[in-house]
Amino acid sequence: MPAKRTAAASAGPVPAPSPPTIPSSSSTTVASPSALSSGPKTLTTNSSVLDIAHTVWQQYLATTPQRTLLLDAFMGFLVLVGGVQFLYCVLAGNYPFNAFLSGFSAAVGQFVLTASLRMQTSSPSAAGVVSSGKGGKGKAAAAKETGSNGISHERAFADYIFGSLILHFFCINFIN
């Protein structure tokens, strides 16, 4: 599940308000209503938590592109796999502890790698937005960084494969 807000903001089919203007602090309130107006459902100020969650879900389904959804599905699957292993460990004991650990960490590791990939690819300007949003004090440096920081999709995917290879090498080595 963890992914990134800029995904929705910039990659959605809806012409969202230009993301770079959104500062990272609490000013989302200003920008979001316009995004919400085209969303599936508007919220009243005092709707319940469940309602909010529901809206988020709707919004998410409506604004996420197909490829990112695929990644999300994979991440969901990994959470499931990790959860099942953990449950097994709790219920049936952790006897082959190495095996459990490597299985579980493979799931967790792949999950975070996928989340990282999602962050890097779900919006082309993601890195740039974030760095200029956060590095408020070093504006010049942030601007300079954006050039080198805009990681292309291919680069991100290559990194992803590199990370996964290392991860699975360690897991296989550790599984006994």
Binding site: S32, V108, V112, G163, I166
Partner: protein
Amino acid sequence: MAESPLNVLLKGNTGRNTRGLLRIIILGTIAAAAVSSRLFSVIRFESIIHEFDPWFNFRATKYLVQHGFYSFWDWFDDRTWHPLGRVTGGTLYPGLMVTSGVIYHILRFLTIPVDIRNICVLLAPGFSGLTALAMYFLTCEMSTSPSAGLLAAAFMGIVPGYISRSVAGSYDNEAIAIFLLVFTFFLWIKAVKNGSIMWGALTALFYGYMVSAWGGYVFITNLIPLHVFVLLCMGRYSSRIYISYTTWYALGTLASMQIPFVGFLPIRNSDHMSALGIFGLLQLVAFADFVRGFIPGKHFQRLLTTMIIVVFGAAFVGLVVLTVSGVIAPWSGRFYSLWDTGYAKIHIPIIASVSEHQPTAWPAFFFDLNFLIWLFPAGVYMCFRDLKDEHVFVIIYSVLASYFAGVMVRLMLTLTPIVCVAAALALSTILDTYVLATPGPNPKAKVVEDTSSEPLRSARKPDVGITSYLSKLVVTSSVVIYLLLFVAHCTWVTSNAYSSPSVVLASRMPDGSQHIIDDYREAYYWLRQNTPHNAKVMSWWDYGYQIGGMADRPTLVDNNTWNNTHIATVGKAMSSREEVSYPILRQHDVDYVLVVFGGLLGYSGDDINKFLWMVRIAEGIWPDEVKERDFFTARGEYRVDDQATPTMRNSLMYKMSYYNYHTMFQGGQAVDRVRGAKLPAEGPQLSTLEEAFTSENWIIRIYKVKDLDNLNRDHGNAVAFDRGHKRKRATKKKGPRVLRTE
């Protein structure tokens, strides 16, 4: 790297190339200086492994090279910790041995036959050159001015705080660990800056290497999460941090678990829990950040509150359950002693007994870091001025490392890199401000131009800005003087304080010529030549590794100190009367007992001076049989002369040290030169041991444990009988008196 803007003198593309070439040459020179300044001991003595721990590493490396990697991995060593043995393959950090093994095989493959000993001796200097290089990269990430990087590399190359652990021959884990530490930090900074999986994964790889090389990896394990945590608290969460941290943690933890000695510690031990906690926290923050993109602030806040309550409730319950059920191990003793300096002294004497675990004395900071120590705060202040993510890292690192260096002498080693970085930042700012040709030096201005080699530039520059000619000259020349003083100081410290192998001692003769005292090797070689291959040698644990490495004889205890009880047994045997010690020696199959005695030569690191630690450690296990108080006189003095307490005089250690010592001197003039004490005219009598060997300067004394008496007498009686038999009846009256003094 650092594509620096145009230099004033060297413009354009050629200029950049020239500067790149210059930089490479300078770095090469620095590396060469770093290597060569560590060779004092090789030149002055010979190519020999130093001190204590390196001897074990050396022995393990030889084993690795001889028997191959897999049998090294499964190595069970039955020649140490005598009755118990040691699962060596699973209880060491293999990084160092594997590194030199790989180098050995590569050189062999290139048909360069090099003795494995020379590789081991020269490994530390070689890696110090690499450390200087890594330091350059790390500092270049901190500052736009490449002069900072070069300065930091130069500092790192020759700073005594690092040289102390990396002279040629000190083949210890730190030899490669500091390089790995610095390089891991460089990769981490790179990862945080770029937010790419690749840098994160590389960080994890080098972190894994670091874990395989040194127990100090825990420092990285805690520093990186702390960095992330502080960034989160500063509201600087970004996808870059998420990517780099989670990649590092997921891969790095797996990598660290590959080392058998570390094993499941990363998920069990509390030392590693902060990293796990930050990992979880970061997931939540990322998720919250993701959700925030969808809904207005007010709703988000409500959702967030719910989430926080749920998550913290779950985490708290989980933590309580885990702690109660004992899944998470308590903090390790060494860790406690970091926070409470008195902890070790009270609870774990074996940790407190090691001199490098003592708190640092203040002069040591200046001694090890010279003028860097006062540039250090200035550099940290520079980091506050433009507070980017990497500067936060420097600040955290310097605060933590300063504290730790104050607590434990040997953690000065972790402080040294950051001092070099900070000092280089400060000094390069000074130089950039004063040396550059900008009219009117303005410290606030972001100076983009810079110098690649400051003395060169300083010679040419000052004639441009006439107005500030004087101040420029003063500042630059004083900086140059400081640098020269620093170099002189480093060389002096290295050659005088840190280049002694401590296996071979050097002293000056009255005429100034050097005199080598080689008692250790003499004695170990005697053991190797004159005792059976399986003769067990008992000594205090300090000498265990050396006996194993040089004499190749099984030992009872060694510097690994994994079994406190066993060490306490040896301590008890040393500090008890002969009648008590003899059964202990017999039970442990001891054939020879080795003591180090410096009384003749004035060598202060001997066993009588360490004796109180033996007593304390033994007292920790047998409080009612060994009592520290009994070794002090009524006035609370630790004495070895005729005022010494009976317990002291009857202890095996005392007897072995001073046995026959009075025969060296004319009529009752025996003097212990270490403790400046005049010894009683009558020397101690030994009945259960016999002197086997005493080295030239009496530093090492080896005693053979007597076998059981043929006539089934106890040894005291047998000796008394022998003495009585040899002498006349008249002197037999001496018999009982001898017994009483024993």
